[in-house]
Amino acid sequence: MASKANKPELIVNGRRLDGRDFNQLRPIKIEANVLKNATGSAYLEWGNNKVLAAVYGPVEAQPKHMADPSKAIIKCRYSMAPFSSLSEHNRSGPNRRATEISKVTKEVFEKVLMLNEFPGSQINIFIEILQSDGGTRAAGITAASVALASSGLHMKDLVYAVSVGKIGEHLVLDLDMIEDNYSDSDMPMAISPRNGEILLLQMDGEYTKEELEGAFKMAAEAGKEIGAVQRNALKRVYENVVSKYNGE
């Protein structure tokens, strides 16, 4: 996309353009249960990303021939709003990129949700990117995970996602849009914090095996912070209601 010819200096005096350290996340905020009709939902702001995730189900599988008599199936839609990017207006509807992200996101939750409890049914996961600034698939998965927990569906873990990229010789956590456009490598991951297993892994660029190990370590550290934000969002849903009436 971006031409490498006018590549900006992404690291100045050992810091990134927005002032972050190499292993520093952008600020993350999550609010759970924001949509009335959904079984579970979450709104997330991750840097300048703004994401809405919702879960419906289990519902009867549609079309019926898609139903699996042994377990529930997942349908996932990741989509970017036409007004989501700072650059030009986008056509709405899924393109090839969104279709791929929808697929790998679905595969993240196939391992996490206890699908055999609802044979013949379907669980819908919707991720809408309202505003994008790099790392939207990680933001979407992190939000969807909170939406799933708030839906009450049985799941093995509160999954999070984050990306580790490479700028020059440096591993850097959580690339924003400019970094993503001009960096040398990027590797989004979704991780089960309970056991560190990796549920989504994509990568392009160049990593040595040592750098790969370093990236895993960095992602695991970030997971502690992201997980705390996810948990707090869920906690607040119940505490908020409590305080609303203590004041009266």
């Binding site: 949509l35 009335k36 009709n37 959904a38 939902s41 300048n48 703004k50 809405l52 995730a53 919702a54 419906y56 519902v59 349908k75 839609r77 709003a81 036409p82 007004f83 989501s84 990017s85 700072l86 650059s87 030009e88 207006h89 709405s92 509807g93 819908n124 919707f126 809408e128 309202l130 505003q131 994008s132 600034d133």
Partner: protein, 260 residues
Amino acid sequence: MGAINMVKTAYIKQLMSTNIREDGRGFNDSREIKITTGILQNAEGSAQVDIGSTRVLAGVKLDIGEPMDDTPNEGTLAMSADLLPLASADFEMGPPSPEAIELARVVDRGIRAGKCVNMESLFIEEGKAWNVFVDIYVLNYDGNLFDASEIAAMSALLNTKVPEYADGKELRDKRIKALKIDNVVTSVTVAKVADKILLDPNGDEEEAADARLTIATDGKFIRAMQKGLGGSFTQKEILDAADAALNRHNKLKQVIEKTR
């Protein structure tokens, strides 16, 4: 949802003889309307509108493009709507439904016929003009998407800032002036249920409705109308709805302008 709608429809029709609606409102009462503007930063303008538990988000993008051949000194305006599957169990994934296309076109007609956006102000230079895209995102459905979308689109346009233009390019991070808005259009939607006319129908009432009517107005003129669903209206019912739309306009306009 399916079968539960049958029961609710029967109940809502039965209620019509009591002059009280499912949620306790009178026939001419609207639900509370809440507007929040400027919630998106990448969009040049944005607004979120809640009517009861219906929630609609509108985003405005401005791109440099070409004027239309027949209006070489004006910019362009395009409106689209998405009934997102996360807004209701009844909305499906896939290409835009006829309902979504109708919604976008009705909102578009009101704002276009009302000459709300000053199209000449969008002209940049010979062969170049701003293309304005308004995208309506339905986030939660509980009836009356038409009024919610009209208000959201209008509020988002009022919230829009035009980027600076220099050396043939737009500077997205320099938004220098407000989009020039000449007129404010609002709409009122009614539904006909068992021969009674209900203002601001909720989701169950729309499900039970035989016909639906949206009237967009700027207070002086009626700017757009759309009758929907299989039933019909009498001429008097339409004139009464026009009255309601004209009478409510100033109040709605105040709410919109207060939040720009």
